[in-house]
Symmetry: C2
Subunit: 200 residues, 2 copies
DNA sequence: TAAAAGATAGTAATTGGTTACTATCTTTTA
DNA sequence: TAAAAGATAGTAACCAATTACTATCTTTTA
C-alpha cells in the first residue's frame, strides 16, 4: 500500500510523472506541455521534477519507453490468443485502438516526436517502437499468405503501411469530432474494408 | 515580373509570408515555428511581419486558407478529368499525395492545429476544409456504388475515413524514413489495397 | 529502543534565454 | 512629398533549469 504521506519514492514519482504527461497529451498539443503544467497537475512544484529527471527530454524519453512497453505487450497478448493470422490481425487492430482510446495523447506524442528536425533520444525510441511493431505485423501478414487466408500476391509492405495509417486516420477523425470514443465505434467498419483489401 | 526592389507590396508580402510558413513546416514541428524564424527566412526583421498581420494566429489562418484553396482546386481538377468514379477516386488520391509531396509541412500543420485544445480560428478553417474534402469524397463513393464500380454494401463513412487515413499513413511513413519522396513511390501499392477493399 | 545521523524528497525563489508583440524612427517608392 | 514598408529597440510574459534551503523518511548506534 502506498503511504498517505506527500513524499513519494523516486521511482514512484517518476512513474507518476510519466502518467501525467500521457494524460496531459490527451488534452492539448504535446509539444506545448510545459514542466510547470506537469508539476501543477501532479501537485508538486516545478523544480521538483528536476530532482528525478536531468532535463525535460529525459521525461519524454521515459514516456516513450512507457508507451513501447505497454502497447507492444498488449499487441503480443492479442496475437497469442488467436491461432489464425487473420483473427490475430483483427485482434491486434482492436487492441491498438483500445489502447489509443484509453490514452488518446499517445498517437499525438508519437507523431509530434517524429516531426522534430533533430533526431532526439525520444524520437529514436519512437522509431524503434514502430520498427518492432512493423516486424510483428509483417510476420502476421506473411503467415496469412502462407496459410491461404491472405491474397498470395499481397504487397506486405503496403499492407503494413495501410494498417498503421488506418489507425492514424481513426485518430484524426476523433480529433475532428472532439470525441475519443468515436474511434471504438468506427474501428470495425474501417477494418472490414481493410480486411477485404488483403484477403485471399 | 516581380520588381527588383527590396520592399514588397502588402499583398505580396503576405503571400510570401504564407509560403514561408508552409516551407518551414516541412522542416520542423509546425507548433515550434516562431515569428523570428519566419522573418529570418524571408530576409526581414521580426517586427516587419506585424505590419501585415495583426498577430501570429492571423498568419496561421492565412496559411490554412492558402492550403484549402490550393488543395481543393487540385482535387476538383483531378475529379473533373475522370468520368469514371473509381478513376476519379484514384486521381484524387494521387493529386493529394502529389500536393503533400510538394508541401510536406501541410499535413503536419493540419494535424497540429486539430490537436489544439481551444478552437482557434485556424482550427476552424481546418475543420471546414476537411468537411469540404469529405463531401467531395462521399459524393464520388456514392456515384461509384450507383454505377456498380463499388461494392453496393460499402459503408461510405468508413471508406471516406480510410481514404484520408491512408494518406496520413503515407505521411507518417515518410517522416519515419526522413524521405518525402517515399510517399510518391508507396502511394500506388497502398491505393491498390484500398481499391480492392471497396470495389464491387 | 530511542535519539542521533544521514539520506532522500520537495519547496520557494531566481536564473538566463526566448517568446509574441509594440512604439518610434528611417527608408523606399509611387 | 506623402504614404507605405521596413529597421531599430524595446516590452512583459513565459520557458527550462538551478540554487539554497526545509521536511520527511531510514538507518545506525549508544
Amino acid at each position: 500500500m502506498k503511504t498517505s504521506s506527500k513524499n513519494l519514492r523516486a521511482d514512484e514519482r517518476r512513474e507518476v510523472t510519466v502518467e501525467t504527461v500521457v494524460e496531459l497529451a490527451g488534452e492539448q498539443n504535446p509539444s506545448e506541455i510545459t514542466t510547470a503544467a506537469i508539476a501543477k497537475r501532479m501537485g508538486v512544484t516545478q523544480g521538483a521534477l528536476f530532482r528525478h529527471f536531468p532535463n525535460k527530454e529525459a521525461i519524454l524519453s521515459s514516456v516513450m519507453e512507457w508507451v513501447s512497453k505497454r502497447l507492444l505487450a498488449r499487441i503480443d497478448k492479442a496475437i497469442s490468443k488467436n491461432p489464425s493470422p487473420m483473427a490475430a490481425l483483427e485482434a491486434m487492430f482492436m487492441a491498438h485502438v483500445e489502447f489509443v482510446c484509453k490514452h488518446p495523447g499517445v498517437p499525438r506524442m508519437l507523431f509530434g516526436e517524429l516531426q522534430g528536425a533533430k533526431d532526439s533520444a525520444p524520437k529514436r525510441l519512437v522509431q524503434l517502437m514502430i520498427e518492432g511493431y512493423s516486424i510483428k505485423l509483417k510476420a502476421l501478414l506473411d503467415e496469412g499468405i502462407n496459410s491461404g487466408e491472405l491474397d498470395p500476391e499481397l504487397d506486405t509492405q503496403s499492407a503494413a503501411l495501410l494498417f498503421i495509417g488506418t489507425i492514424q486516420g481513426l485518430v484524426m477523425q476523433s480529433l475532428l469530432a472532439g470525441d475519443v470514443k468515436k474511434m471504438r465505434k468506427d474501428a470495425p467498419g474501417v477494418f472490414a474494408i481493410y480486411q477485404r483489401g488483403i484477403r485471399g
